[in-house]
């Protein structure tokens, strides 16, 4: 899901970031992820993922993220969305220094969405001094006051229970996440291909979270419950150089089945499709690129861009044919790398809620 960031960066990094100045300019280091990953560890098929070690950072790889989205409702049935994301980026490959010499940069994004409001915030930090980081035992991921923390009886296989919190000037939230089922591996046993030319990432998810907690939007406290989805992904060269953007869905299907699918847009118009169908009992089956069809139906104009906020999605082999619509079409992340990310609902052969993320527009 967070590949949006990468795409965005590879597109505008070189130009826009230069003019941003200050802390923003460090993101220059994020740019050009489509280039070769010389010096960094490469992503190869067949490497087994081990836990809790792989919940922690992988400084040998250029980039990784801890990405959480939640579809929530309050007592009167109003829908909300929550996002909590932590990115790690290595400025240089090779020796990891101590303290300030650590070549790691961390970036946090947090957002809440309602039908009428969308608030986003971001934060940056250097690694090595304690301002941001991730540790496995006990599990804790943090940047500044934003935190995702393992609670008592934390289980490495389910990454639960968790306490997640973030706050900014105009919103804050604190959620408790529980999961009875273990996490699932995306792609092929965690090896997620991003192009025909070998670009890939290690990718696993916990899509079975139940969530409950409180969120505050514009000084109003709201008790919420719902479902959440966590993505973990790390790579050194996740994108091909001709890929311009990314449309990504995480959908909670009826009967506790889950669907992850994405489309990587390429300059030549031949988009790269991928996805996994995850059954209620945790079986994750990779979908072949030809099995997925995604097409925009409604375009919304945001920040001088035309963004496809409603979609038709069909996977004939699974008997799925749905139309998605956003909770708030203006779920625009006004962060240093702007992108669209927000809760959606869908109807058709299946109905439910999920999250949509779109970058590169």
């Amino acid at each position: 899901m967070s590949a949006n960031l990468i795409t965005r960066r590879s597109l505008i990094g070189g130009i826009a970031l230069l003019s941003l100045g200050g802390a923003r300019a460090l993101a220059q280091g994020f740019a050009g992820l489509g280039r070769d990953a010389e010096g960094f560890a490469s992503v190869v098929p067949g490497r087994p993922l081990t836990f809790p070690a792989d919940h922690g950072p992988h400084p040998d790889y250029r980039i990784e993220w801890w990405y959480l989205t939640a579809n929530l409702t309050d007592a009167s049935g109003n829908a909300y969305g929550v996002q909590w994301t932590l990115f790690r980026q290595a400025m240089a490959a090779g020796a990891q220094g101590d303290g300030w010499a650590t070549p790691q940069i961390w970036m946090g994004h947090a957002a809440v969405t309602s039908a009428t409001a969308h608030h986003a915030a971001e934060s940056f930090a250097r690694g090595g001094v304690g301002q941001a980081g991730v540790m496995t035992t006990p599990f804790r991921a943090w940047i500044d006051a934003w935190e995702m923390r393992g609670l008592e009886n934390f289980d490495d296989r389910s990454v639960a229970p968790l306490d997640v919190s973030a706050s900014s000037a105009d919103f804050s939230y604190r959620l408790r996440l529980d999961a009875k089922q273990p996490l699932v591996l995306q792609g092929e046993n965690g090896f997620s291909r991003k192009s025909e030319r070998g670009q890939a990432s290690y990718y696993y998810s916990q899509p079975y979270f139940t969530a409950s907690g409180v969120l505050t939007i514009d000084s109003k406290e709201i008790a919420v419950t719902g479902r959440a989805w966590m993505d973990r992904e790390y790579s050194s060269q996740p994108l091909a150089s001709d890929q311009t953007g990314w449309d990504w869905f995480s959908l909670h299907l009826p009967d506790n089945a889950k669907l992850m699918l994405f489309r990587l847009r390429q300059k030549d118009g031949a988009h790269y499709f991928a996805g996994n169908w995850i059954t209620a009992d945790g079986k994750s089956e990779q979908l072949t690129p030809g099995a997925i069809d995604m097409a925009p139906t409604v375009m919304t104009e945001i920040a001088d861009r035309r963004i496809p906020t409603s979609w038709k999605v069909s996977i004939p082999s699974r008997g799925l044919q749905i139309a998605t619509s956003p909770l708030n079409a203006k779920s625009w992340m006004t962060t240093s790398f702007p992108y669209w990310e927000g809760p959606v609902s869908f109807t058709g052969s299946h109905s439910g809620t999920g999250y949509l993320e779109m970058t590169g527009y």
Partner: protein, 820 residues
């Protein structure tokens, strides 16, 4: 429209026939604009760099957290505060030695640095990646690079042999600062995991209270609307502005007399135009149009001259500001567009202001009026009375401000009122003197001499006022500078009592040197000295530690002290307080004070007050052993040596060869004194230059006034010539007249100047710098100035006199025939 153009052409034809007059008008406007905008350019340049320094990396423009005890604090506090929601960014600051020169080193953390703090320096454009990843970068301003004699990309070694990252030029950076990544800075400054201060970003959001995170270790410092440098240097800039304004007005005097003459001479032309059917309104509009066009041209030239004046004075101004306040001003003049517009505007406004009386006369111009010198004199009489009343009122205001006021502005107000009042009173006083002269004589020619001088007064009075002001200010500033110079030299002798001063490159070397010095018979005493910056009542002060030694007891000039002052200092609880600090904090002998040190509050009692000229910071002098006890990590590398004077050169040579110290950290008393005096001299170089400008402009004002008068006075001289007085005699009388009025004016300027000097020393200096000087009068200087003034008057009078001497008798006859 066509008609207006024709009128303009007719009006302008006058200047073609009187090019000298036109030149005078232009010179006046150019001088006024040039001096005014030159000074403004200097002020603007300085302000820009203060702003830049203040905005850069959280100067005083950014709110910040500092240690309550004024020192560095643990880096963990930064992390704790971030984790508690505080948008803080760490900064490490210290000084490093590069090739013996001390440079400020700033370690920043660009990732968390608030945008508003970094934007001013545009650090981001340097490329954060290159800045953050090895080998990193050391950002440096071009001025600093040049001063250190280094090139971009060099990796200079510090005096302790550690190396800086490659230097990277950053033109927007404040001079005198090196900026590196915080990790690098901690290493270079040997401050691992320590932080000097935390900048607070503007991001809003919930955050825990400061106390719950940091206890009482940190203190919030709110941003100042005005920077420290601005506050400190305010007086300096006010000084410059005052001079600029004075020059501007003196320039306007010239413009006024040139326009007045032009108007008088064009009266027949104006009457003819009116008679031809030009309405008064149209005539006036065209007169204004003419004036504005001339002002625009002169303003443009004036601006260019102003630029050159500013550019030539900038090095001295920059040196003064650096010497006095440690303010770093780049040597390159950069001007904002506003400056150009303001310059042109001031030229136009000035021209209109100077022409007001002439324009008013033109409005009321009677078609049939003829020249009426006597009526003019009558009007002058009324005018003088009015001026006299005005002068009395202004003097009263000055007295009131002196009595009630307690600020720098009040001080300058007293000065301005004094000068204005004196200028207004001048024609009245001259009038009284001349009436007295007229009464004292019965001889016809002498009576005519005095009466005619009186008639001339109104035409000359503006120029004489200019002369009076310029002279008075010269006397005032000259007296102040001399007083300061004398006091300062005496004070330096007392303060610089050691024969040799040295600063070891490290603590280790300092110990070695001390041990070695003990073996030298020619060294009578080693006097260690240390200084450190601490907090007192929330304000930064300097603590100066000195040894207990007869040198200080005997030689340190104290302004005020208790009888047991030195013993109390030795026991560690007595403090010598600098005059600035005692004035600022209202401290007097016997007051108790508490200074925050890393080991807690240090209680002491004020036992003496001493002069500390040239130091913008408040200073407290204490016993060095007590200082080391309270500030254990203080640098102890400085020392003064008492040596028999004859042994000084040999000892310096020995230290130089043995310990590798050079001129930057080893100097004898004479050198230190010379350097201090050089700084002092440059401080007043600008004042002196502007002083000279002002006097020059006053001279030109006198010249133009006399030229103006010489033409219009021909009708008065012609009858005298007709009754048999030779041109030679006439010229002699004219010269005598001019010189005697100038002399009276100059003599009046002397007491006025001394009064100005007293104001500067007793009010302005105390408020601006925090020190009071003894007031001295320097008779020789006064005589010199008097001579210069008379010489200027003589030169100014000479041209019209020569003209009169060479005048064809026929011309005089013609004048006689035409005018009468």
């Amino acid at each position: 429209m066509r008609r207006a153009l024709w009128i303009l052409a007719v009006l302008l034809s006058h200047w073609r026939r009187h090019p000298m007059q036109f030149a005078t008008l232009l010179i006046g406007l150019i001088a006024a604009t040039a001096l005014w905008s030159g000074v403004q350019a200097l002020n603007q340049q300085a302000r820009i760099s203060y702003d830049r320094a203040a905005a850069a990396f959280g100067g005083t423009r950014t709110p910040m957290l500092v240690a309550t005890n004024g020192g560095a604090f643990a880096q963990q506090l930064f992390v704790d505060l971030r984790r508690a929601g505080w948008p803080v960014s760490p900064v490490v600051e210290g000084r490093v030695q590069i090739g013996g020169r001390s440079v400020r080193l700033l370690g920043i953390e660009p990732v968390t640095m608030p945008v508003e703090a970094s934007a001013a320096t545009e650090i981001g454009k340097a490329g954060a990646q290159a800045f953050l990843t090895p080998p990193g970068q050391a950002l440096i301003a071009p001025e600093t690079l040049a001063r250190l004699g280094l090139t971009e990309g060099a990796t200079p070694a510090l005096d302790d042999a550690t190396k800086l990252p490659p230097l990277k030029l950053q033109p927007q950076l404040t001079p005198g600062v090196l900026v590196v990544d915080i990790g690098t800075a901690q290493k270079l400054l040997k401050m691992p995991d320590r932080i000097s201060r935390l900048l607070i970003g503007s991001a809003k959001g919930p955050r825990a209270s400061l106390g719950s995170v940091a206890g009482d270790q940190l203190r919030l410092v709110q941003p100042d609307a005005e920077t420290d440098l601005e506050r400190l240097t305010d007086s300096f800039h006010l000084n410059l502005t005052a001079f600029g304004l004075l020059s501007f007005f003196v320039g306007l005097f010239i413009v006024n007399s040139a326009i007045g003459l032009g108007f008088e001479q064009r009266l027949p032309m104006l009457r003819t135009l009116r008679a031809c059917g030009v309405s008064a309104r149209q005539l006036n509009s065209v007169l204004v149009l003419e004036l504005v066009s001339i002002a625009l041209v002169a303003g443009a030239i004036g601006l260019i001259c102003g630029y050159f004046i500013a550019a030539s004075l900038l090095p001295d101004v920059a040196a003064s500001l650096r010497g006095l306040y440690g303010a770093q001003i780049p040597g390159q003049l950069t001007l904002k567009p506003e400056w150009w517009f303001a310059g042109l505007a001031i030229s136009i406004v000035g021209a209109l202001l100077a022409a007001t009386s002439s324009l008013l006369k033109a409005v009321r111009l009677s078609l049939l009026a003829t020249a009426q010198p006597y009526a003019w004199q009558q009007a002058q009489h009324r005018w003088l009375r009015l001026q006299g009343t005005g002068a009395l009122l202004v003097f009263a205001a000055a007295g009131l401000a002196l009595w009630l006021g307690d600020s720098l502005i009040a001080g300058f107000f007293v000065l301005a009122a004094l000068l204005l009042g004196a200028a207004l009173a001048l024609p009245v006083i001259l009038g009284i003197v001349l009436v007295g002269g007229e009464r004292s004589t019965r001889r016809p020619l002498a009576t005519w001499f005095w009466a005619d001088s009186r008639l001339q007064l109104s035409g000359l009075s503006l120029a004489l006022m200019a002369l009076l002001l310029a002279l008075a200010v010269n006397v005032g500033v000259g007296t102040m500078v001399e007083s300061f110079s004398r006091t300062f030299t005496g004070w330096l002798d007392g303060r610089l009592a050691s024969e040799i001063y040295l600063n070891a490159t490290s603590e280790k070397q300092a110990v070695e040197i001390k041990t070695w010095l003990k073996t030298r018979p020619d060294v009578q005493a080693v006097l260690p000295g240390s200084r450190t910056d601490l907090q007192f009542n929330g304000a930064p002060i300097e603590l100066l530690g000195f040894a207990d030694h007869a040198t200080y007891r005997d030689q340190w000039p104290l302004l005020d002290s208790t009888s047991d002052a030195w013993d109390r200092v030795r026991s560690g609880d007595g403090a010598l307080v600098s005059e600035q600090l005692s004035l600022r904090m209202k401290l007097k002998l016997g007051d108790r004070l508490g200074v925050s040190t890393p080991t807690g509050t240090w209680p002491m009692e004020v036992v003496a007050v001493y002069a500390d000229y040239g130091n913008p910071k408040g200073q407290i002098g204490v016993n060095i052993d007590a200082l080391v006890k309270h500030v254990p990590d203080i640098s102890q590398t400085r020392m003064g040596l008492r040596v028999t004077p004859a042994a000084v050169p040999a000892l310096i040579d020995a230290i130089r060869t043995r310990f590798g110290l050079d001129g930057r950290n080893l100097a004898d008393q004479t050198t230190v004194k010379t350097e201090s005096l050089a700084i002092f001299n440059r401080t007043f170089a600008v004042t002196a230059a502007l002083n000279a400008f002002t006097l020059g402009v006053a001279g030109v004002a006198l010249l133009t006034s006399l030229l103006t008068l010489s033409n219009s006075r021909l009708p008065q001289l012609a009858p005298l010539w007709a009754i048999g007085i030779t041109r030679r005699r006439l010229a002699g009388i004219e010269l005598l007249k001019t010189l005697s009025v100038a002399l009276i004016t100059s003599l009046l300027a002397l007491p006025l100047g001394l009064l100005v000097a007293w104001c500067l020393i007793a009010i302005v200096n105390v408020k601006a710098f925090g020190w009071r000087l003894p007031f001295h009068v320097f008779p020789l200087q006064l005589v010199q100035l008097l001579g210069v003034a008379m010489l200027a008057s003589l030169l100014a009078a000479l041209l019209p006199i020569l003209k009169l001497l060479r005048m064809q008798p026929a011309t005089l006859v013609k004048v006689f025939a035409n005018e009468r």
